[in-house]
């Protein structure tokens, strides 16, 4: 392999690693896992082009903006500081969002009076709470599955949580993400502080864990349902992309005669 190619591979790896950190705020899933990043091109001069497509034309522009803002931050953090172009496709406000993102504008600046008097930060806060709860539920259920009693679980401190291991599954996936959410909310948390508190910071009484888990479950049901729907819609939307001469027809897509798009990861 030539040094240039090595460098391109490394750049690609770094870029995807950064993009994987960008979450759909509503689903708490990486935009890459949702398939929203449709195309990534790193040119020889290092500049980057990204095509972004959401499940429907009607997806809320505030969510579109939050995600693209995350993409913008991911690109700004790249080690080779490239020039870049991010394009949102087939969205009712694509033009406005693309122009605003390119000019580094805030949401309120792009949408003016349509944005009203609420700022996006309060929306971010709502979704931070939901993400915290969903991740926490996965860890709590994982610990229960390992046979820990409710008393042992609610009594755990952070160092004990760090020591706990999960082989696979949702708990293994969510444990580091839960820890990140916990420390994001309480950066000064010490190893001997409680590992599990409510979003408001209260300890969970042992006899209330069951009811508390039911609350967390309803949060997860919404998020997972959303995620399943978005994945399904995204999948079919890909099938609906404009047909050009020589390209497969809609019937081919319906009949599943067309391979899935190649992903850069």
């Amino acid at each position: 392999m030539t040094p240039v190619r090595m460098s391109a591979a490394r750049r690609s790896e770094e870029l995807w690693r950064r993009l994987e950190q960008v979450n759909d705020p509503e689903l708490d899933e990486p935009v890459t896992a949702m398939g929203f990043v449709e195309r990534v091109l790193i040119k020889l001069d290092g500049s980057v082009e990204i095509d972004f497509r959401l499940p429907t034309y009607w997806c809320s522009p505030n969510f579109a903006f939050l995600m693209l803002d995350g993409v913008r931050q991911a690109l700004d953090s790249l080690s080779w500081s490239p020039a870049y172009r991010v394009t949102l496709h087939d969205h009712m406000f694509a033009e406005e969002v693309n122009r605003g993102i390119a000019e580094g504008k805030a949401f309120g600046e792009i949408f003016g009076e349509l944005a009203g008097d609420q700022d996006l930060e309060s929306l971010r806060a709502i979704f931070r709470a939901k993400a915290f709860k969903r991740r926490q539920e996965a860890v709590l259920l994982g610990l229960r599955q390992q046979g820990l009693t409710d008393g042992e679980i609610v009594g755990m401190d952070l160092s004990e949580l760090d020591a706990a291991g999960f082989d696979a599954g949702e708990a293994a996936k969510q444990k580091p993400r839960y820890r990140e959410a916990l420390l994001g909310r309480w950066p000064d948390r010490r190893p001997d502080d409680a590992a599990f508190v409510t979003w408001e910071g209260d300890r969970i009484p042992v006899d209330a864990l069951g009811a508390y888990l039911a609350d967390l479950r309803s949060v997860r049901i919404n998020m997972e349902f959303n995620g399943a729907l978005c994945r399904g819609l995204k999948h079919t939307r890909y099938k609906e992309m404009d047909v050009i001469d020589g390209e497969p027809t809609l019937v081919d897509f319906i009949m599943d005669r067309v391979p899935a798009p190649a992903h850069a990861t």
Binding site: P55, T56, Y57, W58, C59, S60, P61, N62, F63, D90, M92, F107, F111, L114, A115, G116, Q118, D119, L120, L123, I126, A214, R217, S218, V219, I221, N222, M223, E224, F225, N226, A228, L229, G232, L233, H235, T236, R237, K239, E240, L250, V251, I254, D256
Partner: protein, 340 residues
């Protein structure tokens, strides 16, 4: 009529169907194109493969298609036709009460045609409610709060203009208000699927029934909370039910939450035809059993008795359908379209 594998006859009221025209000829602009494409994406994302339609048929299907899919191939006894105007997107509207009533005319025993209005039209909305009552004797309306209307990109059920309309509905005996609660787009910065306006309206209009279509998904918890507080709030299963095919465990969790919070009397079946056809939905629903762990966790079950309520008895109660009388009437009005 749905006949179970055990031979029992189940009366089916399909609480949510459409007779739309989303064809390119009727599309006013790009939004009209994207709207029906979004519906088509729902159709293709959640239907079993063998149920997929070509897009051109999906955009515009015939009245005969509808009779066949609902009543001949499908198990529906009665279908509630919901009107959705979207005149900013479609030249002649997406499906107006006029078009729906025309379609329903051939088999009047089979259909309940609901109207719709836009409170932002002010006096005209009130006049239109009178017109729909006098012309079509409507028993219900479908509200689409995310509909665009000139500069406005949506409204709330507890807006003062809306309250004037609901007061008139109450006075005229239009007692079932179906509310579409799916994604709303504007205002841009709100949590986009808010269902809280239902809470205000249901409290202030106790004599009206509020049927939240799609159960407020993906805000099921908010919907459940409201359904617990308000005795006159119901959940329509359209969009939730098709997950029974692609994600059965999710469906189990959703229906369990609904059974636990809202209760078996408050859930209504709806196919959302033509996004989905009722036959496979009803067959799968009847065969469906809750996984044991979910049953235990929530302490609920989806028994045949409960399924029967959801499939028809609950809606029959809301719309004053005398089931025995209806069965006799249906037996006396056979279809003139040929079964394929």
């Amino acid at each position: 009529m749905f006949r179970t594998p055990e031979g029992k006859e189940i009366f089916v009221v399909d609480g949510h169907i459409h007779f739309w025209d989303g064809s390119p000829e009727n599309q006013r602009n790009i939004h009209g194109k994207q709207f029906v494409e979004c519906f088509y994406a729902y159709h293709t994302a959640l239907s079993p493969k063998e149920q997929l339609w070509e897009k051109s048929k999906f955009e515009k299907y015939t009245a005969d298609d509808l009779y066949h899919d609902l009543f001949i191939d499908g198990p529906d006894d009665v279908a509630i036709v919901q009107s959705t105007y979207l005149k900013d997107f479609y030249k002649n509207g997406f499906n107006t009460v006029e078009k729906n009533a025309e379609m329903a005319k051939r088999y009047p025993e089979r259909f309940i045609v609901n109207g719709s209005f836009d409170p932002r039209d002010g006096e005209k909305a009130l006049e239109y409610i009178h017109f729909m009552k006098e012309t079509y004797d409507i028993k219900g309306v479908k509200m689409y709060t995310a509909e665009w209307n000139g500069a406005s990109k949506g409204w709330k059920l507890n807006d003062p203009d809306a309250y004037r309309c609901f007061e008139l509905c109450e006075k005229l005996g239009i007692k079932n208000v179906h509310v579409h609660k799916g994604p709303t787009i504007l205002p841009l910065n709100k949590d986009a699927f808010d269902v809280h306006d239902v809470d205000y309206a249901a409290t202030d209009f106790q004599n009206l029934n509020w049927i939240v279509e799609h159960c407020g998904l993906p805000r099921l918890d908010d919907f459940c909370w409201i359904a617990v507080q308000e005795t006159n709030v119901y959940g329509g299963l359209a969009v939730a039910l098709p997950f029974i095919h692609s994600r059965p465990r999710y469906f189990a969790e959703v229906i369990s939450e609904l059974l636990f919070w809202a209760g078996p009397e408050k859930i209504l079946f709806g196919s959302d035809y033509a996004i989905w056809t009722p036959r496979w939905l009803v067959e799968k629903f009847w065969a469906f059993e809750l996984p044991e762990d979910i049953k235990q966790e929530r302490g609920v079950d989806l028994t045949p008795e409960i399924k029967e309520k959801i499939l028809g008895l609950n809606a029959a109660r809301l719309y004053d359908i005398d089931i025995e009388a209806k069965k006799a009437a249906l037996a006396n009005s056979p279809f003139s379209v040929a079964a394929e």
